[in-house]
Amino acid sequence: MSAIQPKVGEPVSEELALVQAAKGGDVSAFEDLVKRYDRNVFRIAQHITQNREDAEDVVQDAFLKAYSNLEQFQGQSKFYTWLVRIAVNEALMKLRRRRPERTVSLDEDVKTEEDSVPREIADWSPNPEQLYKQAELKEILSKTIQGLPPSFRTVFVLRDVEGLSTEETADALNLSIPAVKSRLLRARLQLRERLSKYFQKRESGDGQK
């Protein structure tokens, strides 16, 4: 079984040149950075907030905050990691506002042993994503990830959907590397467990592949 391949990023030097130009007052250079990362920021925001309007606000607020704080970006991390940190904070703030009755924190670490112990071990169909129409599949994936604690789905989206490394994720979320790994393992296992009821092999004759 081969390892999951990470996504390949854009050249860093080109990006730094855009950041330098934007710092020097070139707004169109900043617009290039917006074009480069708006889709990623929207995806992250929607994964965390699980609300379309909130995600739209987060995209605007995160880029404006990045623009107005560009001087503070010293280039020790990638611009994208720095931007993600801003976007995650904005998204968590939205979530807290919407759900004041619940604590929403990246430190949230739901400690129950059985989280990490798979219960449902039935094998899946060979091409589970083809069992459902595209829209149905999206609905299932969305509903499933909504059930995870925000701290788990944040780590999952950064590592597994956006392809940030463990170190970059730790940096963006201000978490230790072991904390990122522990949340990622549990997020992956919980999603797997929840998806099993949709994707497991069916007995023949029920109309499913």
Partner: protein, 85 residues
């Protein structure tokens, strides 16, 4: 290797972050433990399905509106900060 030890290393294994010796111990375990094989295989599929799903893609029209709103605010910010110098 016990199943619980396998699970602890699952994330490192899927990310290709294991040394050769641990990786080979893990693969020995996978060769005879069907349950761990299924958990490993379906966890990998979980990640791939989410990665390939294009869940929460930004539609072009919304993308255009958001960008234009962002750039207007940035221009306003720039103007305001120049005035205050």
């Amino acid at each position: 290797m016990k199943c619980s030890e396998f699970l602890q290393e699952l994330t490192n294994y899927l990310d290709g972050a294991l040394d050769d010796r641990t990786k080979s111990e893990l693969e020995d375990h996978l060769a005879w433990c069907h349950n761990c094989y299924v958990v490993c295989d379906t966890t990998k599929k979980t990640i791939e399905i989410y990665r390939d799903s294009e869940l929460y893609e930004l539609p072009d029209d919304l993308r255009g509106r958001l960008r234009s709103a962002i750039m207007t605010k940035c221009q306003q910010y720039k103007k305001k900060s120049q005035e205050s110098i």
